[in-house]
């Protein structure tokens, strides 16, 4: 059988063997948590607690009145020690609520849930999902309730559950699909009924045969009509636009959103969070994070509370080897390097990868020899070498004409460049500058 896939892209060494067969372990409750008031795309939350307040697990500690936002919750029971700026895994210092655990108790403050969600009004369920603070847990952290409430003129006909996990090293979604299959499917069912769509697809890369088998089996057992779609192992298969092309052969228009072609995509971890919220009233206070890499003594998949410092997770996994030279959150293609492991796990933290110098091949770069490897790799059909050069020479307007804003920053170009030119890094700069330019033009 020919696997469905998209055009271009790259093939990567997977390095999933470190943790792909490690069962999800529950981390012990952390002593301290640091909960950033912004963990999502959209408006940051205002703190609702102050120093000295006692909080319960699941209590809302920050919210915003803006529509595109998601509240944040305390993830342990304890006392607020500070509301201040602390280092954030995405860089910079961000306002966070620092909570210290008191005693061993874990008092939950649950959301009020309808007795039978199928009979509850749609608006109420979407509000519940918002209240639970659910955001896209694949990495982008877009508030889920916004996705589930598309404008009336967009007709949604399909839903795709994203179980691709195309980044090397990460295995948290993989383990979730194998161990929390029923919850994920229940969440998917809820999302589909909220969107009122009939066609449900589950996209999984072919390197996770146990997940494909498990999901197919439970879909059949539980009588759902979802279709499990095995996909070719290729990066960036899990990027929203690529996944839609692979599964449905539809192309999201340039500058458009998946809803423009009638599709909504959610990550498997998000689906599980939706099920937890709607069926059990649990807000999003924990997630599965892979701690892996060749610098970690015992790679693991951990169920951990949001806000737990990276240090705690790393120590729970036996610590790092002395030769460790780089630690990043997320996968090696789109992740964020960390300089300080006191940063907390956030809602979108799929993994913490600690690598020794053996695993990073960063060498001096050469001049571009115009080999076209980046052009062959770019899944968005851009000319990365040209765009990088235009950015370097500050020709932002021309870069915009050549479609720099379509870049999804997947890093395929920088990976494949034999001259090791930091292409995607230049493109990130270029995108930022073009946006600034546009904002200025709008203002004047």
């Amino acid at each position: 059988m020919k696997l469905r896939t998209f055009k271009k892209g790259i093939h990567l060494a997977e390095y999933k063997e470190f943790s792909h067969d490690k069962k999800i372990e529950q981390m012990p409750l952390p002593e301290q948590v640091y909960i950033p008031l912004q963990q999502h795309i959209g408006a940051p939350c205002e703190p609702l607690v102050k120093k000295g307040d006692t909080v319960k697990t699941g209590q809302v500690i920050g919210r915003s009145s803006a529509y595109v936002s998601a509240p944040v919750h305390a993830s342990i029971t304890g006392v607020v020690k500070a509301v201040d700026k602390f280092p954030h895994p995405l860089g910079m210092r961000v306002e966070m609520v620092h909570i210290e655990r008191t005693g061993d108790e874990d008092d939950w403050e649950l959301l009020s849930i309808p007795e039978n969600w199928e009979k509850a009004p749609r608006v109420e369920l979407i509000k519940l999902i918002n209240e639970a603070g659910i955001v896209g847990m694949g990495g982008a952290a877009f508030p889920t309730h916004v996705k589930l409430n598309p404008p009336g003129d967009k007709k949604i006909d399909s839903f795709i559950l994203n179980g691709v996990e195309c980044e090397p090293y990460l295995t948290s979604d993989h383990r979730l699909m194998v161990e929390y299959t029923d919850q994920i499917l229940a969440g998917m069912n809820i999302i589909m009924s909220l969107l009122n769509v009939e066609n449900g697809y589950i996209g999984i890369e072919d390197n996770k045969p146990d997940a494909i088998e498990m999901m197919s089996k439970r879909v059949k057992d539980l009588g759902y009509s979802f279709q499990v779609v095995p996909l070719e192992v290729k990066y960036p298969q899990g990027a929203e636009k690529m996944l839609i092309e692979s599964v449905l052969h539809r192309k999201v228009p340039a500058g458009g959103l998946p809803m423009d072609v009638g599709v909504v995509v959610n990550n498997v971890a998000t689906a599980k969070a939706v099920a937890d919220a709607v069926l059990e009233g649990k807000p999003l206070v924990e997630r599965v994070t892979t701690v892996t890499g060749d610098g970690i003594i015992h790679p693991k998949n951990l169920l951990t509370r949001i806000g737990t410092p990276f240090n705690d997770l790393v120590e729970f996994c036996g610590g790092v080897k002395d030769e460790t030279t780089i630690v990043f959150m997320g996968g090696p293609m789109m992740g964020q390097a960390q300089y300080d492991l006191s940063v907390p796990v956030i809602k979108a933290a799929g993994g913490i990868v600690c690598n020794t110098s053996k695993m990073i091949t960063m060498v001096e770069h050469f001049p571009c020899i115009r080999c076209g490897a980046c052009v062959d790799a770019c899944p968005m059909y851009l000319l990365p070498t040209k765009l990088a050069k235009l950015t370097e020479h500050k020709k932002y307007e021309e870069a915009e004409k050549l479609g720099i804003q379509n870049c999804i920053e997947c890093g395929s170009c920088a990976f494949s460049c034999p001259a090791h030119i930091p292409l995607v890094q230049w493109l990130r700069v270029g995108k930022m500058r073009v946006s600034e330019l546009k904002r200025k033009q709008k203002a004047s």
Partner: protein, 364 residues
Amino acid sequence: MEKNEKTTSDQSAEISKTPQKETPAPKPKKDPRDRLYKPKGRPLTMSSSPYSQTKDNVPKIMWCVSLALTPAVIGAVVFFGWKAVFMISTSILAAMVTELVITRIRRQPDTLDDGSAFLTGLLLALTLPPTFPVSGCVLGSVFAIAIGKQIFGGLGCNIFNPALLGRAFLQASFPVKMTTWVLPRYADMNAYTGATSLDTITGATPLGLLKYEKIFTHIKPLFIGNVGGSLGETSALALLAGGIFLLILRHADWRIPVGFLGSVAVFGGIFWMVDPAIYPSPLFHLLSGGLLLGAFFMATDMVTSPITIKGTWIYSIGAGLILVIIRLFGGLPEGVMYSILLMNGLTPLINRFTRPKFFGEARA
């Protein structure tokens, strides 16, 4: 940002050195990030993702192309004797010295180890006639590197293939010397042309024989390389071996030899079908002259060929068309050099007009 990059390259320099020889432990540097947490007091590398990269690199590509030319070099020695070695090594040496001198003048880091100057010298020598004076090789190499490459800003900035530009310079300066040919050492004239008198054909290339004497050379000697011609272009066997090696390693875009050779076969074949008595067969076109050397090793030069897929096809098919026109109707017997140089010149334009549609772009 700059500081981070510096740290990264420093570290990688250490890493790359270690396998070759044991360097003394690097001096501890003061790093502002030392005060932060890191495993056993070592700073963590900071950089923007991605954190993994392809194992290919520019020097590897250049040296692999040079390596792929080894069969052709062996062929040159077998057919034209030890003078070939002398010419090739002089040419390479001159190219590398020129590169070194000019990078010093430009105050740029040394670029000798990236292998591009070596390759240019080697390619240039392989396109020269075996009788060509060695001093001419030096001149050609100096021109190729200085005017063909460095004047544009060095590797990656040149418009034309430096080796071919060097050859074009020699062709224009020494037209007689550049077209004086000798027969290979083992040539058995009667066996391969069917001509009766050795005198009429002494020292001509198969394409020259065709153009001026209307004599067709047999395919077998063409394939082995036992015919007159430039140092490295005569043996189709050696060039195919090297070319296929390059394609397997993906250090040459397969579309270029396929498009180039394919279009020569098609356009040459059309004329052959019109009148096989005047026009040579497609197979003769493919195996004679410098076509294989050009198609596998010169047209595939990444710097001077288009970056888009559509553009690559236009480039390679265009080169084939120009070649057939020059060979059949031009004043010269051979046209590989000019066909590639012409398409090199068109490459920026081709790149501009063959930009692929963005993903999901609506364009009429």
